[in-house]
Symmetry: C2
Subunit: 564 residues, 2 copies
């Protein structure tokens, strides 16, 4: 059996290794156009920062180790230039010329390529992408002679962009970060992104949100960037982290079916429209299940690439029926959740599943929950607060997505949400989870559970909520009742609101009734807990009361001008 | 509406608080026989150690704060001495005498009490339990005058016992730990418990496993303990952490139905056999779902107590139909997983779901998987290895239980397993999880996923396994093939085994065939990964080969005498 794998990182390498484990006799050729195979591309920023001191740590394998370990024939600097599906051959162009390779099974893992932003003056010698070992080497080579405080600009504040910012600051660079979207980390909800931009600012990163780079030009041996707001930035190094697109040209030329944004269409077993060709990784079309709908497109993440490579090899060698992965709906694209995490200095941001924007675009009816729990019991030292935004389907409480910013414990809880999401859990299921509790690790009511409890209360109409982004409207229509202590309110409150500490609500009902004058009451406190108690009292007493989801903590991150 | 709650910690306090939030008009009386209400009982060891410096941190509420916040009538030092179900009254005996309290809804949360072990000479002034603030105060009062190096004995190496050991060592005590079961932390699998006992030994704890205390006697102002092996231990302080039993005497006297080990029988909404009485916490009977079977009994854990208290109040006030928790099978006992975690110095041990012993007792046909993954990408600094033992049903790969010992990342992965377990996930579901990956937080193939992959390979018969506990038998019947490097083997290997490094298996097949002489081949390496590759080669070449689950790493923790 002749197996050809195109692409020697993540998906391709997982496929090749699995193929060998399943079939000792097959010829397995891996074509990798770059200079390295099976390298740790997610680790590149951490060698730039110096955290990973030894560059060789990133080179997990060489053609030699893969030969001795797995009897793979790995060919570096070798590009697949043509697929002849009729003849079942791939034309490979390497250092020694072209060769035609016959295949019984072809596995494509070409990955994604940086989408060059429309910046006048690109390419420019100061401007680098950060996708390969060569990119990393070039960035380090550029930084090294610049002394201790080079000037760097990172374009794009997604996951890679933020990791690049952190790495460059660790090296002592002065860093500007330019993001076209209204906030950094565009996939995460806005009220959480502002924690990230705050952390960036605390580490002296010059953050420019809602701004694009329009031109790059030479300026005295460095680069001068002109931004959309007319300002300029001078830089010794520019990193372009503006997003990627499937590198599916070869698949397209071969006439394979492509889907959204040029991604290769595959079934649940990673089979393409050609029964002899499978594909995995950043170039394939996957689906995110959101409620009852599937969102199709490429999702460039390392973890799905790896496991889909494994499954593709299973299907190619054993056949889909005997593959070890049981895929529910084999004809649909492989399902992913889009779980992702990033560390930004002392902050950790993570998400899984759908965002508000996606849900709105799909017309899903949902409620949003904001909580601010501590990562472990508050009475045990070192508890760190995290901030959770989670969405649930209104009709049945189905979890749709979760976003978290915090420190310790964020990775833990996003994994719980991701597992719950895959399982199709509801708010009630989250409330009934049995998570690990001892004071150093959690709370008797875990952050995920608290989020489930809160969602239950909203969905059961025990605690209707109002949202920070509706402040102006709510101010017009309602009495704002601030249930924090007088001392807290003295440091700032929404103008025109009435302060009744939550422990005084019972005895001051008449005062509240008079102030409301028939209007509904919009309750708030610092985090939403005390105001929940007040909301319950008021509702039990016949008032139309709603609680501010996430309290002033969230409000302050949505509206910096909230308090007088 | 008159609501009486018996017990003012965890379950009882959750119930009382929820009841108020649901009903502003009700009279809610909480009877607590102790001196404190709503205290952090899980935090007690950490004040003994000094980590929680301020004792008041453990006192989350007082009757006064609960009055002002929730309008609860909390009565300390008040015992419920009798329930008259006909009249619907509770007789409360407090500092000011007896009072008869009428109820429309009664919620019982009496908790559990330490089971006094059959030790001659108990009670003894040196011997304390560690369940209440008073216990903690007494322990600290006893330790304080003893100087820097008091001698302590902890009896029972369960969760509380281990936390007590750590706390006493932190205070400088010389500590002996006596455990009747064959290994410390009896609920966890033996091959993981030995990591915990190793960590205890590294911290100079004198561990006596498979040993019981038979007598305690005065000895020069201290205590002398006589152990089952005839040895003696002198101690200034003895902590009894030998397990608890439901404190269900009141419920029993009232004629409520009791179940396994005297636990109060409740339905999914925590209703007892009396429709006006609910119960939650350590005294109720819950069920652990294991495959298709339910295991009934009390499970004394804080997290279920808290959420069941909440649900009981929902059911008592709103009725089961309107309770926010949706309970699948309302007539069955509430379901728990028994998820638990403990820190023992630098080690973290955790489990969820079934153990081998439970599965064997229920006659479940299962496979066990051992993995030793790192908590995050190996190329990023600071990765810590964890050791996972997971059980899956043989027929369909259903996850049945998971046990982990390690450091960083254990809490994260046990929570993923617990969520997967609740969802009824299989090995294939674990393999297809989308967990958060960035180098500081995880791996492209997460520990849980690796465990799923490994289970898939075993279940699909791609990688049949043998287990460390069968070493003697395997040695008799098979060729032991050690696929580690010659250097590793030189430091010790199973006598009589053949060393062929995994990269040499392909070219040394004939040598292996001759050595096997028709016998099956039992392959091993350090962790099970390289030997997996070798096993696959051998099986593809027609050998009957099996891989040692968990490799020499696990073997060494099952059989300290494994290597020559």
């Amino acid at each position: 059996m002749n197996i050809v794998v195109i692409g020697g990182v993540a998906g391709g390498m997982s496929a090749a290794a699995r193929a060998r484990r399943l079939n000792e006799e097959a010829s397995i050729i891996v074509l990798e156009r770059g200079d390295y195979v099976s390298f740790a591309n997610c680790g590149l920023p951490y060698h730039i920062s110096g955290e990973i001191e030894d560059r060789s740590e990133l080179l997990l394998h060489t053609p030699e180790t893969l030969k001795s370990r797995l009897n793979l024939d790995v060919r570096l600097r070798t590009e697949a230039v043509r697929i002849d599906r009729e003849k079942r051959t791939v034309t490979a162009r390497g250092p020694e010329g072209e060769e035609e390779l016959a295949y019984d099974a072809l596995i494509l893992s070409p990955g994604a390529a940086t989408v060059m932003p429309p910046i006048e003056g690109l390419p420019h010698p100061s401007a680098h992408t950060l996708r390969t070992i060569n990119d990393m080497d070039a960035i380090i080579a550029r930084l090294s002679p610049l002394g201790e405080h080079p000037r760097a600009v990172v374009v794009g504040a997604g996951f890679i962009g933020l990791e690049a910012v952190e790495a460059l600051r660790e090296r002592g660079a002065a860093v500007s970060l330019v993001e076209f979207a209204p906030h950094v980390l565009p996939p995460i909800e806005a009220e959480l992104a502002s924690y990230v931009s705050g952390e960036l600012a605390r580490h002296d990163v010059d953050v420019r949100e809602g701004t694009s780079v329009q031109a790059i030009a030479d300026n005295d041996g460095a680069a001068r960037l002109t931004l959309s707001d007319g300002s300029t930035l001078d830089a010794d190094l520019v990193i372009l982290a503006t997003g990627v697109a499937p590198d599916s040209a070869l698949a397209k030329d071969a006439g394979l079916e492509l889907g959204e944004r040029g991604a290769i269409v595959v079934d649940g077993y990673l089979q393409t429209s050609d029964p002899h060709i499978w594909a995995a990784g950043d170039a394939v079309q996957v689906r995110q299940r959101i409620g009852d709908q599937d969102l199709l497109g490429p999702v460039p993440l390392a973890a799905p690439a790896n496991r889909h490579g494994r499954r593709a090899a299973d299907a190619a060698i054993l056949g889909a029926e005997r593959a070890v992965d049981q895929v529910g709906d084999a004809t649909a694209a492989p399902r992913v959740l889009g779980t992702a995490i990033v560390r930004v200095f002392g902050a950790v941001a993570a998400l899984t599943g759908a965002s508000r924007r996606t849900l709105d675009s799909l017309g899903v009816d949902y409620v949003t929950v904001h909580t601010h729990p501590a990562d472990h019991a508050g009475y045990y030292p070192g508890a760190e607060q995290m901030h959770i935004v989670a969405h649930f389907r209104r009709s049945d409480g189905l979890l749709l997505g979760a976003h978290i910013v915090g420190g310790n414990g964020v990775a833990n809880r996003i994994n719980v949400f991701a597992t719950a999401l895959k399982a199709g859990m509801t708010a009630s299921d989250l409330a009934d989870l049995d998570l690990a509790y001892a004071p150093p690790f959690g709370s008797a009511k875990d952050p995920v559970q608290m989020t489930g409890f809160t969602a239950q209360n909203i969905l059961a109409d025990l605690m209707p909520v109002w949202y920070a982004e509706d402040l102006d409207e709510v101010r017009e229509s309602s009495l704002l009742l601030d249930t924090r202590s007088a001392g807290e309110c003295a440091r700032g409150m929404v103008s025109g609101s009435l302060n009744v500490p939550h422990t005084e609500v019972r005895e001051r009902l008449e005062e509240i009734r008079e102030a409301a004058a028939g209007r509904p009451i919009a309750v708030l406190c610092a985090s939403g807990v005390r105001s929940y108690l007040a909301t319950r009292i008021l509702r039990e007493k016949g008032f139309e009361a709603r609680n501010l989801s996430g309290g002033a903590e969230t409000l302050a991150h949505v509206r910096s001008d909230w308090a007088d």
